[in-house]
């Protein structure tokens, strides 16, 4: 048997891309469970539907690109995108909204750039932003009211019918099942009320945000597990939460003027973004210092858009904006190499500095 010639190292560690992706998917399940418990079957259906669309789209595109389909599908990156979209989109969003979001994400935001690892923008967020801007009504009126506030919660079949357009959107059933999110409510109500009054709205529940607080808590737990498994780095989530918390504490401490920090943290897609969306390795920064800045940037932008912009939940845009900046941040946050006094930051090799 002839001997192989290979470069060292000959040993390989246990980390694998597909394993990491699968852990990410697995750790969204507690959050998904909470969403199903509190908001019905919509999210579960969307996750499944988006996964199906994503896998089919990816297979078709890989075929066109003449790549081995099984090899590339096995890295589970398309499934991750689909799951994140399924979790982020409104539960009662029509089927074509999810379809467009997922298909666009996979084909245009990922494969056009060269596939996994080559895309500069987070595919899930690109899809989300596209449908948010293109179908604003479908994206804002299809949020589910917490089940405990609904007289007749929709069964799985009912949910299917609504999503697949069998039931007209203006019908009373849909009306009863959908409603504004807590963030949306607080933002619009606080303009003409006081904080205590606004918080009496049943949507805020007894503590912070009915249903949403559990969802965010579940995502937080999932995220912490991912941190422990070293699947995601801690700098991005911590940066994001800090970026949200610090401006909120400094500028938004008056609950009568702006949404309080606890509402920020417990409703909307905050925890989902912090631990699952912003930590997408391909589109975030690579240096550790850079990740802190990147996460902080997302949090800050989210706070700004939520408070001063017209969107109640601004994760998608913040993430996309920071995706733009990530390579730039990388260039300026290079670590110091062993044996050097200073880090070589900046784009050009400064010969004069090196000579010292």
């Amino acid at each position: 048997m002839a001997l192989l010639t290979l470069s060292s190292p000959h040993a390989k560690g246990p980390q694998r891309t597909s394993v990491m992706m699968r852990w990410v998917i697995a750790m969204t399940l507690p959050g998904l469970l909470m969403q199903t418990l509190f908001f019905g079957w919509g999210n579960l259906h969307n996750v499944l539907w988006c996964t199906l669309v994503a896998v089919i789209c990816e297979a078709v595109v890989l075929k066109i690109r003449k790549r081995p389909i099984a090899f590339y599908l096995n890295d589970y990156s398309a499934v991750v995108t689909a799951v994140l979209l399924g979790l982020a989109l409104p539960p009662f969003a029509p089927w074509w909204v999810s379809l467009v979001a997922t298909a666009f994400a996979i084909i245009f935001a990922k494969h056009i750039y060269g596939g996994m690892g080559y895309n500069p923008f987070n595919p899930a967020m690109v899809g989300y932003a596209l449908v948010l801007v293109s179908f604003p009504v479908a994206m804002t009126t299809n949020w589910a009211t917490p089940l405990s506030l609904v007289d007749q919660p929709a069964s799985f079949l009912d949910t299917l019918q609504i999503i697949w357009g069998q039931v007209p959107a203006q019908s009373s059933m849909v009306d009863a099942l959908t409603g504004a999110t807590p963030l949306d409510t607080y933002k619009h109500e606080i303009a003409h009320s006081l904080s205590e009054t606004v918080l009496e709205n049943p949507i805020f529940g007894t503590d912070f945000s009915l249903g949403w607080e559990w969802v965010n808590a579940a995502f937080l737990v999932g995220g912490i597990v991912l941190l422990a498994l070293k699947v995601i780095p801690w700098q991005t989530p911590v940066g994001l939460l800090a970026g949200l918390a610090i401006p909120s504490l400094l500028l938004g401490h008056d609950a009568d003027q702006t949404t309080p920090l606890v509402i920020h943290l417990t409703s909307g897609a905050t925890m989902l973004a912090a631990f699952f969306i912003a930590t997408d390795p391909v589109t975030s920064c690579t240096t550790t210092r850079g990740r802190l800045i990147y996460g902080f940037g997302i949090g800050l932008l989210t706070y700004i858009i939520r408070s001063y912009g017209s969107y109640p939940d601004a994760i998608a845009f913040s993430v996309l904006l920071m995706n733009f900046a990530a390579p730039f941040i990388d260039v300026y946050t290079q670590p110091r190499t062993y044996g050097y006094v200073d880090a070589k930051r900046g784009p050009k090799a400064k010969e004069a500095k090196e000579k010292n």
Binding site: M1, L3, L4, T5, L6, S7, S8, P9, H10, A11, K12, G13, Q15, R16, T17, V19, M20, F71, D75, S77, G114, G115, M116, G117, Y118, K230, P233, P281, V282, S284, T286, T287, T288, R291, D330, Q334, P335, R336, T337, Y338, G339, Y340, V341, K344, K348, A349
Partner: protein, 693 residues
Amino acid sequence: MSTSTQSKIIPTRTLYDFHGGIHPEEMKSLSNQTAITQAPLPPKLILPLQQHIGNASQVIVEIGQHVLKGEKLADADGKISVALHAPTSGIIESIIDHPIAHPSGQSAPCIILIPDGKDEWCQLSPCEHFEHLSVSEIQEKVREAGIAGMGGAGFPTEVKLHPPHQDKVATLILNAVECEPYITADDRLIRERAEEVVQGMEIMAYALQPGECLIGIEDNKPEAIAALREAVRETQIEVCVIPTKYPSGGEKQLIKILTDKEVPNGQIPADISVMCQNVGTAAAVYRAIRFGEPLISRITTLTGEAIQQPGNVEVLLGTPIDWLLSQYGYQESKSQRLIKGGPMMGYTLTHPHTPIVKTSNCILAPTHKDLPLPPPAQACIRCGLCAQACPAELLPQQLYWFSRSQEYDKAEHHNLFDCIECGACSYVCPSAIPLVQYYRHAKGEIKQLKLDQQKSDQARERFEARQFRLDREKSEKEAKRKARAEAAAKAQAAKKAAEAAKPAEAPQDTTEQVDPKQAAIQAALERSQAKKSSQAPEIKIQAKVAPLDINALKTAWDKAQAKLDKMHDALENAIVNTPEQVEKLTRAVEKNQVRVNQAKQAWEQASKLEATISTKPNESKPEVPKPDIDTLKVALEKAQSKLEKMQDALNNAQPEQVEKLTRAVDKNKVRVQAAEQALNEVSQAETIQDGKN
């Protein structure tokens, strides 16, 4: 172990940490359970002349010479070099290029030694108390003993025994870390010969006079630690137990751990007053000084599931690896690759029939289960695990992108050359990208580019120097020519003045006689000047149309033509008399025809050129036709006389020769006509020219 050692409170030194690192499976128990065995005497020893960093050793023995064990075979060459010795007694069979253990599989000069089985030592010079020797004597003995760093790098040890820049060394570190999985050579060496190691360190300390002596060892070798602690009891040496992490055994990382100092980039540990040596090297130093034994063997770990009797062996340098493995139950069918070194930094062997050298610390023969083939590489997901693992605090990801896109200047800016190629990044990469291979390739390419750039700069310098030299020669020639022309003109003027005073005796003749010669010279000079002025960019074309001298071309043509005619005659002769030569002569005739055509073409081209030059009003013009006319006249006369001769011959000829001679006569008639024509043309031209003037 004595209880006193265990109860004594050992002062713990503050240990630091280096960035990154990984924890691969150690796999040490495969080979460290048994004591070191002696490898048997192989049938052949292959000794490369370069088993170290620096200049290759210079052979001092001859083919066929009988050598004793420990006898010097090759001398150290220069400051950074070591000697090479015979590992056993035997005959030098040959000194040839033989494949060596190198990832490229290439060959290098080696001495092939056939052992005679007697294993006779040569005369040795032991020394019981090294303190009686001077430092320089010890350094000389170490150099003569051929000791190089045995941890894997192979740097000549003697060089490291000189204090740097005549300063004192602050810290002498002995590297017993052995962080790579599978390798246990140092572990067993310490367990069984800790005394030798410590004594070796004492000798080194004697030479360097360091401020402190430390031995760094990982905590996964408890028996070795105990043995060391026992051995250093009476000494000032401190045993530092460091946590197991790969690559703590790297020199730079170990220095950081033990002293918190970083080796600045571009410098060596000696520059920060630290010296690092391997424990194997220390033991070798001890044996060299104490017993006078040169370095002729080393301890190598044979491990991997494809070897039935794994363990550590004391093996003679030059032992062929395939023979060695066969002695320990190597199962070729199970093995998928042979690695010299450990799984992280070792390289694969293409030819197992290569020798053990001074730096061979391990031969690893894994099966597919041991070290499975790495999976196909996927795209980089920028997870940053590589940067987290890198002990040099680089950004392996960026280096990967730059190496892949061949943006070598950016890769260098990101400190590519600070990479120690430890393999931690490739180990952790979830996409199984062969990162280290990319860096090795990029480093090689950058070095090659720099060499090429250097070479091309040198070539440019030489070219410019040559141009300068040629220009200088040309201008010197010009100056000389001018001077000569002026002198000639002066002489001519003087002569003219002298003659004007004399009565005119056939002034036409003298002027004509003097003038043609002068004119010829002048013409030649003008021609060469014309040649030079048109020379400028056309070097190649010049080679083809070299002499613009029309006369020379004409003569050449005539000569060629004459030769052709001769050949024709010979051919006809042959057709009649000697048929066997016909073929050869036909070919010769063809060749000559070609030459004639070429010469004719050349002449025609030249005359065309001359014609274009001559359209400019030129003072020399009136003189040029004159020589032509004369030569033509002469040619015409010659042709005419020849014709007459041929006609006579024809009249007097034998019948068989008539045909031949008739042809000859015709040819000559043609020639006469041509000559007449040429003469007429030139005379006409001259009259026209004269008319113009």
